[in-house]
Amino acid sequence: MDSEAHHLETLALREQFDTEDQQKDASTLGMWVFLITEMMFFGGMFLAYTLYRSTYPQVFGVASSSLNLPIGATNTCVLLLSSFTMAMAVRSGQLGKKRAVIWFLIITMLFGLTFLGIKAFEWTEKFQEHHVPALANFHLDGTPLQGQAKLFFSLYFAMTGLHALHMVVGVGIVLFIIMETARNKYSPKYYTPIDIAGLYWHFVDVVWIFLFPLFYLIDRHIGR
């Protein structure tokens, strides 16, 4: 057994662990557990959404169809592309190709920023269309039920806003990993942080995979 309690600490093996494998397993498990906390975090909002959508299907349908479908779909594709490049970055990490890691991460980050840019554009659109529930000039055409329409847009802003916040954090993490990679911190033996950052990024993608149909697609036909 490992009687050497005070072995030298390295990044790949911190002092509380015995072996690299143990550390890697622990980090991965930790990330997955963190992701389910994130899932429950979004879950509360999904409950609110489900309740109000099922209570006011008509208004929510009308509100849904006021969202910009081409832009939403484009953004979904952008995010999926970023997930792909992220997966490629992790793969390059496994293979120890440092330059490839950096490039894939940079592309991932750019896709992420593109997503945020498009999102920002969509939000500005909402301001122009008077679809912002906090403002006095709120109005949604096609339904007399302005209160319930406000509920839809409150949820829209809360959920896409929270998602966007996660994207911003994700971009920050990717940036950090890029810098660490450039400093030669990782190797095929120790690429856990890239892996973990990847898990986070994909998770945020998965959340969007659900937000997209829920807000943009379901009952879209009602509006027309």
């Binding site: 997955w32 557990v33 389910i36 429950m40 999926l80 496994q94 994909h202 998965v206 659900f210 697609l217």
Partner: protein, 114 residues
């Protein structure tokens, strides 16, 4: 059950070496599938299928999610424990939704207000 649940961590980690590295082809294929599904779901949304709009939209979303976690998130190489963690997350979300709806959905029954 995962052997980790039965053995101590130290004894069990031998089983976890590196998992195989996927080929670029795999990832590229997954990407293509995901993009196609996105386009499909967006197109379907423009036709009126009534209730089935919801079914299709969510069905496709779940499929896309499965692709992402299975390939991109390497769940196909992961331990039972990781899968257990995931499944329990989903299960808890379901608990939250169903028991809350046990209230909302039955409010009007019996014609009693409140």
């Amino acid at each position: 059950m995962d052997q980790h649940l039965e053995q101590s961590a130290h004894a069990g980690h031998a089983a976890h070496g590196e998992h195989p590295i996927d080929s670029v082809r795999t990832y590229a294929l997954v990407l293509v599938v995901l993009l196609c599904l996105t386009i499909a779901t967006a197109l379907v949304a423009t036709i009126d299928l009534g209730f089935f709009n919801i079914v299709v939209a969510l069905g496709i979303a779940v499929t896309k999610m499965m692709f992402v976690i299975w390939f991109f998130m390497h769940v196909r190489y992961s331990t039972t424990l990781t899968r257990l963690v995931m499944v329990s997350g989903v299960l808890w979300l379901i608990i939250l939704l169903t028991l809350a709806f046990a209230d909302f959905a039955t409010r009007g029954w019996l014609n009693v207000l409140g």
